[in-house]
Amino acid sequence: MTPALPALIAHPALLAHPAHPLPAAATGAVGEPALNIAIFAVFVGVTLGIAVWVSGANSTAADYFAAGRSITGRQNGIAIGGDYLSAASFLGIAGAIALNGYDGFLYSIGFLVGWLLVLVLIAEPLRNTGRYTLADVLTYRLRRGPVRTAAAVSTMTVSLFYLLAQMAGAGALVNLLLGVSGGWEQNVTILVVGLIMTFYVLVGGMKGTTWVQIVKAVLLLIAAVLLTFWVLGSAGFDLSTLLAEASSKSPSGDAVLRPGLLYGGTLTNKINFISLSLALVLGTGGLPHVLMRLYTVPNAREARRSVAWATWLIGLFYLCTLVLGFGAMWLVGPARIAAAPGKANAAVPLLAFQVGGTLLLGVVAAVAFATILAVVAGLVITASASFAHDVFAGWVGKDGEGDPEREVRVARYTAVGIGLLAIVGGIYTKNQNVAFLVGLAFAVAASANLPTILFSLYWSRFTSRGALWSMYGGLLSSVVLIVLSPVVSGKVDPHTGASLSVITDPTIDFSVFPLENPGIVSIPLAFLLGWLGSVTSRSQVDPARFARLQVRALTAVGAAKGARR
């Protein structure tokens, strides 16, 4: 058996996004589109109200970028969960389990274990040494201008790829949930999603965004836990029964209960899986929109609590997706899921429909849209803050310490620009296989950001040159390797002859790099470049600046007043 390696890099979920426009005949809503839209409208109305209400005093830069440092650890942990559990997690991982069984489950483990790295090594020193963005931490001891620009470039690259994937995901969901079949209706939906989330960010700033994420995370968890209980209850609360029933419905039979369905077989396939696992576990610690959330709490201990809360919630959620995935395999059946518009993404909505009829489907649909809105809002504020605080402030010469009011103004304009970019990009990529975008985001985050963060916090001899080599080297190598991989060109379904790549013309093939995830090459390379750039650097390390970083990172001395602001 040659398992057609699905074009998914990090989020199995996105495997689900159809590589080709679906024939109109294949589309059709499940349930009641009017009800789905009504529930969604209620959610948007309520969260917009909250965004306006909580953001009353959104006047200073700390208010706008960091919610006035007024979010508690627990609230922030829930918001981080809301930010991290994208539609790909909710619909995608469960869908991948429903179709591929055990191998879908493997993803969720990498996504979860990655949080330990954030907890032990990153969260607290990051909170103690930075203000708004990733670049703040790095420039604490490194040369300001170039390093700040590099950090902004990688922040915006990661955020933009993540953003496009979410917008395209919204387009794919529309097919199923609102009964809108391709064409202009889908574009209108993407436009509406884009406009609403830009509005959240403009009006609510980080505080409004945070509360949207909290509301969404709570709804998502309630929906997931209730569905999980229902599925488990149907199986008599016996996991073995659930697995037996589920595997009996799959054409692969018992093979869905063991690893290897997706990532077994050839050695390339296995190395690809290890590469993916590396990117997943190391990518979380470099995701700028997650790291930026750590600045919204008053101090390092609250940052620690945030990460712990996020870990509990994300872990609980992934445990639910395991049950939901096998539940969908059992109660809906892989054949129906694969035939549905949206494919694997449809597994959970179909399960909800099976279990609770149109009302529950409407709730799940609304939660899925809420998820996209909340994640997109978090990405937009991260990218716009990075532009305003790191790039624009550098242009006007003050290097991150310029006029804060102007920074907020610039960030708002940028948010509108990024919102428009996301809408156009989302419309353009709506029928593309967008797996590579999220995969790129995780691989770039792990390659471009993580080595530099760890080196600059913990290695005394790290230099600006090391940082630049590592960031640009990691960024370029991961992007170039993805472009040269089967994800972008030359992957053909062995049975149908159809292209599974982003470039859908099967005659175009410039894939010279065999792996779909570049992590196993680009991450070690970025660490190596950081070391090499530092040891060959002529400029002396400034021991005073490293001393200041180390002392502040552990004790928050000197940063305390800023931290309580």
């Binding site: 979860l112 274990v113 949080w115 996991l239 037996a244 595997s247 001393a547 180390q550 552990l554 000197g558």
Partner: protein
């Protein structure tokens, strides 16, 4: 990189703090926890990934009903992640925070030579 304490004309350099006995103790204590912990959970994670990739037959060994070793080890990854999180919270509250507080108080009063 100096800061003056108002009231007392004492200047503290961060380098002096970095070399102080208290700070070194704090740093040592953190490293003694962090380094083995990080190595352990990453090692355990990659062991699991390696088993899933290269020994799928072993992972298919049944443990209870249809629940196989692969699923058990996967669920144990969840357990270990929760456990490490809880351990770190407890350890940092008991062993790290008091040292940090003491050191910060002394620094903010300018009492460190």
């Amino acid at each position: 990189m100096t800061s003056t304490q108002p009231g007392r004309e004492r200047v503290i350099t961060y380098e002096a703090v970095q070399h102080s006995r208290e700070f070194r103790q704090l740093q040592r204590r953190f490293r003694r926890f962090a380094v083995p912990t990080v190595l352990a959970f990453l090692g355990w994670y990659f062991l699991y990934v390696g088993l899933a990739a290269f020994l799928p037959d072993l992972m298919a060994t049944r443990v209870y009903g249809r629940v196989n070793l692969g699923l058990c080890l996967g669920l144990l990854q969840f357990v270990s992640t929760f456990l490490v999180t809880a351990l770190y919270l407890r350890w940092s509250r008991r062993r790290l925070d008091p040292l940090v507080d003491r050191l910060r108080d002394r620094l903010e009063q300018g009492g460190l030579r």
